[in-house]
């Protein structure tokens, strides 16, 4: 076991635990945001840099601070480590910079994006970013691509978190059909369409995608998510565990997704039959309303008054708070 201090709070975790997971054990507003790490996906994390934290003391043995901020999602704890997240101005400042970087080439057209309301980037930018941009150049755009009849890829919104790549590799055993082509800001998710749609678990790439880059074509533009009601349900499925969330509008099931935890992670993958074919209430045993946590606007069922985790707001650096007051978040939708 290793004992660490995270934002002044002590927690004991098994050796080898990452700093991020140690923070998640504490929970609440001190947990660093994560845009690319995804617990069930091996190799994920380290890319978006949203979760950077400051290690003020490396360990009891070597209490020197680490020279650079580290990605909390891939850095293991050491006994006696002291970590600063919301208590470090530097971290909050750098995080603002990360938001800016993620947005410079992002279309920012949430009003016409299917992910709006349940978008990690939207939440991340809202909680940690500033509302203006210094970027004047043209933004990168791509054509939309259909990955079979059920999934659509819109690279323009992609933040290259690689989650779908690992999902295709590890869950949908896609034999590397969903890798990345190209380099730098010209990199894109490449896919040999035919190979992935055949797999029963390919639909999970939609759930892991933190943004509106991979979307469910059977749901696209049917309804804004905050007007739908999430309900947990299950069925006897020969292919997967059959535990899902149904998204209702009135009596109609508009879409089916895996069940996400408070960090947006699906813990049980669902098969394409459950996701795309079972859209009648009669297909399912209903368990009850799904609890949607975090700052998501879905929980408020109202997009114009985004609900923010108050404790997160309190932790924001003054400069961000001032920014927020001066430029209240856009009223979209």
């Amino acid at each position: 076991m290793a004992k660490i201090t995270f934002d002044g709070i002590e927690v004991e975790v098994p050796d080898g635990t990452t700093i991020l997971n140690a923070a998640r054990q504490i929970g609440g507003s001190i947990v660093p945001p994560a845009m690319c790490y995804y617990t069930p996906l091996k190799g994920s994390g380290g890319k978006c840099r949203a979760c950077l934290v400051r290690v003020a003391a490396g360990s009891t043995k070597d209490p020197r601070p680490m020279p650079k901020l580290v990605a909390s999602c891939v850095t293991p704890v050491q006994d006696g480590m002291v970590v600063e997240n919301t208590t470090s101005e530097q971290v909050l400042d750098v995080r603002k910079g990360i938001v800016e970087m993620l947005l410079i080439n992002h279309p920012l057209d949430c009003p016409v994006c299917d992910q709006a309301g349940e978008c990690d980037l939207q939440n991340f930018a809202f909680e940690h970013g500033v509302s203006t941009t210094r970027y004047q150049e043209e933004r990168r755009t791509f054509e939309k691509i259909d990955i079979g009849p059920l999934i659509q890829l819109h690279m323009t919104r992609c933040i290259l978190c690689y989650r779908c790549v690992y999902t295709a590799d590890q869950i949908a055993k896609g034999d590397r059909v969903h890798g990345v082509l190209g380099r730098g800001d010209a990199a894109e998710i490449g896919t040999y369409i035919e190979n992935i749609i055949d797999n029963d678990f390919s639909g999970n790439v939609i759930d892991v995608c933190p943004v509106g880059a991979l979307t469910d074509k059977t749901f696209r533009f049917k309804q804004r998510v905050w007007f739908t009601k999430p309900v947990n349900a299950h069925r006897d499925c020969p292919k997967c565990a059959g535990n899902v969330t149904l998204w209702y509008k009135g009596q109609d099931v508009l879409r089916v997704t895996g069940r996400k935890d408070q960090y947006g992670e699906v813990k049980e993958w669902i098969c394409n039959e459950c996701r795309f074919d079972k859209k009648e209430t009669a297909d399912w045993t209903i368990e009850g309303p799904a609890h949607i946590d975090r700052s998501s606007v879905i929980s408020a069922n109202h997009y114009e008054l985004p609900v923010l985790n108050q404790s997160v707001i309190a932790d924001l650096p003054e400069s961000t708070q001032r920014d927020l007051e001066k430029n209240p978040p856009l009223k979209l939708g």
């Binding site: 380290g46 890319k47 840099r49 891939v74 290259l160 380099r183 730098g184």
Partner: protein, 446 residues
């Protein structure tokens, strides 16, 4: 005349053949190490030599070797980094194409020291002709019993392979190189774990630059202490510099570390001064990634001491008034060089070469390039200059691998030392945008 430890025989006719190389004392270090030394004794000599990695970071090679994990029954690997793609750096290519057996010899002796039975040379994909030269040398070494099973009857086995990259600068970063060598996309890995613990195929691995490995035979032959006598302070031995730009005699020079920069640029033994009788404006001393310095600061440190070609002296003054030795790519620019244009050019390179994994580098390198493009082409604003500094700062230190820094440092340094030239590009936008236009004012220091 400085001593030449690596390149003494470089111009000997036929030195690329086993026979001639052997006649000039080649492969002695293999005989000495395998027959009279334990692997740890070889490591000890390298430690004593004070040799520092020639790939860019200058990390002590002996220390790196002693960090190699040695779990029982698990193979270890030595991988030679021959990806050399940094703009301004072209020393390894020369060494490998002229003296292929020196690298092969170094690989054998080093592999023995590390207990590796399989080793790789990962070579830049564009250097296919050098790959052929190396393969021929390796075949000759096998034929002569210096590679393969039971080398020189010592019981030590080694297989050596050359593997070409696909033409990506990022594959010179050691963990991207290992990914690529494994047949994957060349994305740098998150560290820890470090290669010394989990490198190639998740096995303990040492990655060393060509020139670092080429220095090992010399160290083993003459002893680490002898080697350490050359150079100054913690910069021991000799180093290859590839000199290019506006010099009378660009080329590759092996120098004893500690040579004054001024002598290197102006003496006839080395670069022979600035071409066309012009004045020197600035120098990038260690490959495109290191901070640029104006003439005044490259010839003398801020304290007025002569600047020397050594790790310590080149970095004297930190990034405020100093730079880094880096990989030894020495780029000299005369008074007709436009610093903004040059910075933009470097920036284009890093934008093109970013692997795109982490957001600050993927997005930031493109942003820097676009702003620099705007400034150079007469569409810039005064705020853009601080914007460059700010974006560079947002990248620096926040990325997976040092390519982020390599992209940020040159931009930050150019603004630091040549801000007036950037401002001129805004105030005299039309003039500055003309081809060949160069700011003639006085550059401010610091």
């Amino acid at each position: 005349m400085g001593r030449k430890l690596l390149t003494e025989h470089i111009n000997v006719e036929g030195i690329d053949t086993f026979e001639v190389y052997r006649k000039h004392g080649g492969y002695r270090s293999v005989e000495k190490a395998l027959k009279t030394m334990t692997p740890d004794e070889v490591v000890e000599e390298v430690k004593k030599s004070g040799l520092r990695g020639r790939g860019g970071a200058g990390f002590p090679t002996g220390m790196k070797w002693s960090f190699l994990a040695k779990p029982e029954g698990v193979p270890r690997y030595l991988v030679c980094n021959a990806d050399e793609s940094e703009p301004g750096t072209f020393k390894d290519r020369q060494l490998m194409s002229k003296l292929p057996h020196l690298l092969v010899e170094g690989m054998i002796t080093s592999s023995y020291a590390l207990g590796a039975n399989t080793s790789y040379i990962y070579i830049r994909g564009e250097l296919l002709y050098v790959l052929r030269i190396l393969e021929k040398a390796i075949a000759e070494a096998y034929a002569a019993g210096f590679l393969g099973k039971n080398i020189l009857g010592s019981g030590y086995d080694l297989d050596l392979f050359v593997h070409p990259g696909g033409g990506a600068y990022i594959c010179g970063e050691e963990t991207a190189l290992l990914e690529s060598l494994e047949g994957k996309r060349g994305n740098p890995r998150n560290k820890p774990p470090f290669p010394a613990v989990q490198g190639l195929y998740a096995r303990p691995t040492v990655v060393n630059n060509v020139e670092s490995i080429a220095a090992v035979p010399v160290i083993v032959n003459d002893g680490g202490e002898e080697y350490a006598k050359i150079g100054v302070g913690r910069s021991t031995g000799t180093k290859l510099f590839s000199a290019c730009g506006h010099l009378n005699k660009p080329g590759i020079y092996e120098i004893e570390l500690g040579l004054p920069v001024e002598e290197f640029i102006y003496s006839d033994e080395y670069c022979g001064g600035i071409w066309k009788g012009r004045d020197l404006k600035a120098v990038v001393a260690g490959g495109s990634s290191v901070p640029i310095l104006p003439k005044e600061l490259i010839l003398k440190t801020a304290a007025g001491e002569p600047r020397l070609m050594s790790y310590e002296s080149l970095s004297d003054g930190g990034f405020v008034t100093g730079t880094m030795l880096g990989s030894g790519g020495f780029i000299a620019m005369d008074e007709t060089t436009c610093i903004v244009r040059n910075t933009w050019s470097f920036s284009r390179f890093y934008h093109h070469e970013s692997c795109g994994q982490c957001s600050p580098c993927r997005e930031g390198t493109g942003w820097l390039e676009k702003v620099l493009h705007r400034l150079e082409h007469g569409h810039g604003h005064m705020e853009d200059i601080d914007l460059l500094v700010s974006v560079a700062k947002q990248i620096e230190g926040n990325t997976i691998c040092p390519l982020g820094e390599a992209a940020a440092w040159p931009v930050a340094a150019a603004v630091r030392h040549f801000r007036d030239e950037f401002e001129w590009h805004v105030t005299h936008a039309k003039e500055a945008a003309k081809p060949g236009a160069v700011y003639q004012g006085k550059s401010v220091l610091v």
